[in-house]
């Protein structure tokens, strides 16, 4: 499941689907599409959170 979600996440999204990715998405259920969307948002937000930590920890005033 995780591998499939990661594969779908890495492909073009259904809203802007490239022809080469059509087979991948062809049999995806609505639930799977939603799962991929949530996972993508989660990953994007996770990257932002880690960047925030790096940002505050690298400031010169940091105690």
């Amino acid at each position: 499941m995780v591998a499939l979600v990661e594969k779908l996440e890495a492909s073009s999204p259904p809203s802007n689907l490239k022809q080469s990715d059509e087979p991948l998405w062809g049999e995806a259920s609505p639930d799977l599409v939603r799962l991929v969307e949530l996972s993508r948002e989660m990953r994007t937000l996770g990257v932002w959170l880690v960047e925030q930590e790096e940002y505050v920890k690298n400031k010169p005033w940091q105690p």
Partner: protein
């Protein structure tokens, strides 16, 4: 039970700092860094633990703060089933101290404590508390909750229960004996995990992101029928 057994068995040879956590790697209890206990542990400010003696590892106030347990207050509350029996339990655990009006600290019974702080209590007292756990007729989930909200007291009180009782009767807040231990979430991240934000609103933006990530994780787990996060943002840092 496991915490107390560790303290009893290792009382004389405790390391400078002991960290007490649940056995699972990920949990909503560890909601600081993507629910991941190792990511949290790598960031604990050990200097602060040495300075304070006792540190709750959780920063989030819900549940547990700011005024959580009102001993004996009814009616029965399923979200805190320990509240209604807390006065009686307290009297058994701390026979010489008055029952506090309120007890609060961030939930979940995960904390860091120094050997010096542990040894403010005698080994016999830890044995006494463990015997209470073994002998009480309360359900495990209720007696465990009682312990969850007395650790800050047990570790924080001064050495003698008699001194504590006198100080509490006089209304003296001895941090070191306060039944309320609710550091602001922002201060907790800063002093406890060295994540200090300088701009107004910056911390709130960050914590909103953390909370949203936790929500997304719950949704993803629900969709995927999983109990473990699909991936952890901080796991490699």
């Amino acid at each position: 039970m496991a915490y107390l057994s560790y303290l009893i068995d290792n009382y004389v040879t405790l390391p400078a700092i002991s960290l007490f956590l649940h056995a699972h790697r990920t949990s909503w209890h560890d909601n600081l860094f993507g629910l991941d206990a190792p990511s949290m542990l790598r960031r604990v400010n050990l200097s602060r633990v040495l300075d304070q003696g006792y540190t709750n590892l959780r920063c989030g106030w819900a549940p547990g703060c700011p005024a959580h347990i009102h001993p004996g207050e009814g009616p029965f509350d399923a979200a805190k089933p320990e509240q209604i029996i807390f006065g009686e339990a307290w009297a058994e655990l701390f026979p010489l101290a008055e029952v506090p009006e309120v007890l609060s600290q961030p939930c979940c019974a995960q904390f860091a404590v120094t050997a010096e702080t542990v040894r403010r209590r005698t080994r016999a007292e830890y044995v006494f508390w463990r015997d209470w756990l073994l002998g009480t007729e309360l359900e495990d989930e209720v007696s465990g909750r009682v312990m969850e909200y007395v650790y800050q007291c047990g570790f924080s009180f001064l050495q003698s229960p008699l001194v504590i009782a006198v100080l509490m009767r006089k209304g003296i807040d001895i941090f070191t004996g306060s039944p309320v231990h609710c550091l602001s979430e922002e201060d907790c991240y800063c002093s406890g995990y060295s994540m200090c934000f300088d701009q107004p609103g910056q911390f709130r933006t960050f914590i909103n992101g953390v909370n949203r990530w936790n929500e997304l994780n719950a949704l993803v787990n629900d969709e995927a029928n999983s109990t473990e996060p699909m991936w952890l943002p901080w796991s490699k840092s």
